[in-house]
Structure formats: C-alpha cells, structure tokens
C-alpha cells in the first residue's frame, strides 16, 4: 500500500512539475517528425513503412530514453535528502525499498506514457499515409517493451547516483557524464578499438559481448532489423549482431534489476 501511495504522490508531482508534459512533447514530437520524414528517402520500395519509422525512432530513442530516465531520477533521493522531506518520510512505517519502488513505478509510468503516445502517433501517421494494409505492428510493440526496459535501467542508474551523490547539484553533473559515456563515448571507444584491432580476435570474440553489455547498445541491436538498414544506421551494427537476440534481451532485462538493486543498496546507506 505504501508503495502505491508513494507512486501516486510522485505522479502528482511529476504532473505538477511538467515532467509528464515535457517528456510527452519530446517523444511525441520526435516520433511524429521521424515518421513523416523517415519514409521519404526510401520512397515506395516495398519496405514496411512502419519498420522504417521504428528504425529511425530507435536511433533517436537510444539518446532520448536514457536522458529522460536520468532526468526523472537524479533528484529522487538527493533532492529529498537536501530539502529535508526524506527524514520525515522515513519516520513513517514503510521501508526504503517501498519508497524506491514507489518512485520507480511512477517514473516508469511517466516514461512509458510518453513512449506510448509517441509510438501511437507513429502508428497513426503511418496508417494515415500508407493505409493499414500489410503493416507489421510487431516492431512497434518490441520497441515499446524494450524502451520500458531501457528506461527502467537508466532510472535505476539515476537513483543510484542520486543516493551516492547526496546533493542534487553533484547528482545532476554525474548523470550527464554517465549519459554521455553510455550513449556516445562507449560506442566511440569500441569503434576505436575495432579499428585498431583490424578484424582480429577482439573483433570476433570480445567486442560483441562488450557491445551488448551496454543497455543502450543492446536496445539498439534488438530493435534494428538485421539486414542492411542496421549497417547504414550504425557502423557497429553488423559486427554487434554476432551476440544474437538472447544476450541482447538478457542485457535489457538484467540491467534494470541490477541498477535497482544497486540503487536500493546505496539508498540504504543514506542517513537523512
């Protein structure tokens, strides 16, 4: 019950703070633009227009979903500790795990709502443009489910940082660095290593696993069609697919669990 009460209040706060509105506009706008503009270069080649759209949205979501996840979560513990609201909450009969879970549910709902509206717009616009015949909705559903998993992972990472940093200012700086590393620098580093290795053992054995170990990359791989599109979209795609669907899914499912466990462990040490 306490978890629901916390989630309910966090949702109310997210609505008041315009977080729901902001993430909704962000996802809705980008999804619509990519859906309308994404199909243009392919013309009518017989490729499923929904697949083209989801591929474009995937590329963007890799950046946006971790960002929204971290922005929703970095203040969750540090901010409450700083404002002094955490100490009072902890004098009530509920555990820290329940507080964390309540916040997580609320933030995941905000994120899920934004992604759902964005993808619904994508589906609607695609049907409006191309008609509903022969459309395969599976990539859209897969994108939604994996977006939730990716968002959950970064919410957990954000809570961990928030609990460890204890100050919102510090936490906000760290989440931006973590975001940069996870969605940009990590791939650049791997790309550099690939070039240096020149198709040796690193490329064949270690690299696919390193790639899939990053939830953002696992998300990208799982949502990219395995053929040429992925090679076009990212230079890392083709080699990365070597790890296969199983590890990609495992990465996306394990990261949220791992990150939330870490967050819980860090939160338990916070003395308000």
């Amino acid at each position: 019950m306490s978890t629901i009460a916390i989630a309910r209040m966090e949702l109310l706060i997210a609505r008041r703070n315009m977080w729901v509105f902001t993430s909704l506009i962000l996802m809705g706008l980008f999804s619509s633009v990519l859906t309308l503009a994404g199909g243009a270069p392919t013309g009518s080649l017989g490729v499923d227009p929904l697949l083209i759209a989801t591929t474009s949205i995937t590329t963007l979501s890799v950046y946006l979903i971790p960002l929204i996840g971290l922005l929703l979560s970095f203040d969750a513990i540090a901010g409450e500790a700083e404002r002094g609201t955490l100490a009072l909450s902890l004098t009530y009969p509920l555990s820290r795990g329940e507080i964390l879970l309540g916040k997580f549910l609320a933030h995941l709902m905000v994120l899920g709502f934004a992604v759902a509206v964005g993808l619904a717009l994508t589906a609607g616009l695609t049907i409006w443009k191309y008609g509903s015949a022969d459309l395969n909705y599976l990539p859209l559903l897969k994108l939604f489910a994996t977006s939730l998993a990716l968002g959950a992972a970064f919410l957990g990472i954000g809570y961990t940082i928030s609990a460890l940093a204890k100050q919102t200012g510090v936490a906000s700086g760290i989440v931006i660095i973590v975001w940069l590393i996870c969605v940009v620098l990590y791939d650049l580093g791997l790309l550099g290593a690939l070039v240096a290795d020149g198709g040796g053992t690193f490329t064949k054995t270690i690299f696919p696993w390193l790639l899939v170990a990053n939830p953002a990359d696992a998300f990208r791989l799982i949502n990219m069609p395995t053929d040429t599109v992925s090679t076009l979209a990212t230079g890392l795609g083709a080699a990365g697919q070597a790890s296969g669907f199983g590890p990609q899914l495992a990465s996306l499912l394990l990261w949220p669990v791992l990150a939330l466990t870490l967050a819980w462990a860090a939160f338990r040490r916070v003395e308000p």
Binding site: I13, R16, T85, T91, Y92, L94, E271
Partner: protein, 299 residues
C-alpha cells in the same frame, strides 16, 4: 506505562560526542520538555528514537520495540525542527499522502486540517504557505492516528503567540488521550505551565530531569521580592527589610523559599508604608542557566 525508554544512550560522530550516557523515560500521558542550547544533542536524541540515526551505545525502546522498527514507527508522530514538504502539492494532498502511509482514513486528515486551522488554505500549494502554516501542516501530520509517542522538535518556532497557545492546547489534548509527548524548545517561558517534566541537556549530557517545582526546590534559586513604597518612605523600607532601593520608590530583595512567609509577615508589619508587593519565583530561564552552565564548566 513506559512508552519511551532511553537507557544510557551515547552517540559519537568520529571525535564528536553528540549524546553521552543519556537515560530518560516517558510514560503514557506525560508531557516532557527537552531543553538545551543548539548542539546540546536534543535533535540527535530524537533522531535515534526515530531510528534515523544508529546508536553508538545504549538502548532505546518504543513501547518495548527497537527504534526504527515498523511497529515503533507506526506508534510515533514526529514533527521535525525545520519541517519541509514538496511545494508542488497542496496542504490537503500532502496530508492525505501521509494518512495513506500511516493507514489512517483521509477524513481524519481533513479533521486535523481543521484542528490546526488550515481548512481555508488546504487547496493551495504548500509553496505559497508561510512558515507558520507549514509548521501547522507539520503538526497535523504528527497527530495522524493519535500517536502513542509524539516527538516535536522545536514545534512552536515560526508560530505567533496565539498560535502557540493553540498549539499547546493540542498538546494537552494529545496527552489527555494517553500519548507521551516529548518536545524540545528554546522558548522557555511558554513551557512553564504546559509540561509535566523538564529535561535539560547540555553538550550531550542530561543534566536535569524532573518536574519544574522539584527543579526549583533543588536549585535553591532565591525568590525575587519587590516592595513598592513612596519616594519618601523607600529608604526607610529598604533599611528595615534589608533590600536595595530601585526606581526611586521600590525596594528589591531576594529570599529563599523557606523564609518567604516570615518575610511576608515582616512586610505586612510595615503597615501603610507598603503600597504593593510582587513575588517572582526563579524563571525557567534562570533554572535552565543554573542547571546547564556551572556543570559545563566543571567538565
């Protein structure tokens, strides 16, 4: 019945001894004031009772349960020193949230809002509230579910005199309902008539723990007597009673409790020379200084 038991509790932060060997019990229906300078260890003691800060040594029980346990937390209502809420919520939403956490009906929360006089502002965002209004929300949440133990840290700071009076009425009702109330305050005068027992802390030590009258007796602080005469007779009154002349027409002297009645007889014997008499027992402030200052120097 013992609601709160504190036995020989100490708290050390590195080299700093915040609380040293404090023992204090609170029974149901008792109102105890915890006094002390800033940094005396009052807040640390309360945080240990709440389970927010672990003890270095000693033992605390709340209704026989360890501090911070779910049952102990259910039994406690807490008002923190500088109470803070999320500014984006309305007073009513915030209190309903706390009611849900405590498993109390929302109608009870609405009644409490009325009790603390916030019904008119309950639909406004808390960020628009004055400090006193936030303090009232804080008090209302501490009262949710008639706690067996109420811990109120500086509860009247930010309240105007009338609100303070209302606040102590609420505390009285709480104690009458069987709750033990431990409150800390700097505003000493208001505590005099409103608490059953006074506990004084200084530098982590508990220096006194008794009813106000017992503390007065033990401290043996003199009673201030002021005898009003006329400008012409003041000198002769001062000579006869052995006091000093002040303000032109009054005589001031000090007397111990046991000599009070005989002095009164002496003054009455002066007949028409005396226009008025005032007896002022040692104030809580003087008692507080008496108990907290000399022992500090001794340590």
């Amino acid at each position: 019945m013992t609601v709160l038991g504190i036995e020989n509790v100490s708290k050390t932060y590195g080299e700093v001894h915040s609380v040293r060997g404090v023992s204090l019990n609170l029974n149901a229906g008792e109102r105890v004031a915890l006094l002390g300078h800033n940094g005396a260890g009052k807040t640390t003691l309360m945080r240990m009772v709440l389970g927010l800060t672990p003890l270095t040594s000693g033992r605390i029980t709340v209704l026989g349960m360890p501090p911070g346990s779910r049952k102990a937390r259910t039994a406690i209502g807490f008002l923190p020193e500088s109470v803070a809420f999320h500014g984006a919520l309305t007073g009513r939403e915030q209190l309903h949230h706390f009611a849900r956490l405590k498993g109390v009906k929302r109608s009870v929360a609405d009644d409490l809002l009325e009790r603390v006089g916030l019904t008119h502002a309950m639909k406004r965002k808390i960020r628009t509230y004055s400090k006193g209004m936030r303090q009232r929300i804080g008090l209302a949440q501490a009262l949710l579910g008639q706690p067996r133990l109420a811990l109120l840290d500086e509860p009247t700071s930010g309240l105007d005199p009338i609100s303070r009076h209302e606040f102590y009425d609420i505390v009285d009702d709480l104690a009458k309902g069987g709750s033990a109330v431990l409150l800390s305050s700097h505003a000493l005068t208001e505590l005099e008539s409103r608490t059953d027992r006074i506990a004084i802390m200084s530098k982590g030590h508990l220096l006194a723990n008794d009813s106000l009258s017992n503390l007065r007796e033990a401290a043996r602080l003199p009673i201030q007597v002021r005898v009003k005469a006329t400008p012409e007779t003041a000198d002769s009154v001062a000579a006869q009673l052995g006091g000093t002349r002040i303000n032109g027409a009054s005589v001031s002297l000090e007397v111990q409790q046991e000599a009070k009645v005989s002095l009164l007889g002496q003054i009455t014997g002066l007949g028409d020379l005396v226009k008025d008499i005032d007896f002022t027992p040692a104030s809580l402030e003087e008692l507080y200084r008496h108990y907290s200052v000399p022992k500090q120097e001794g340590k």
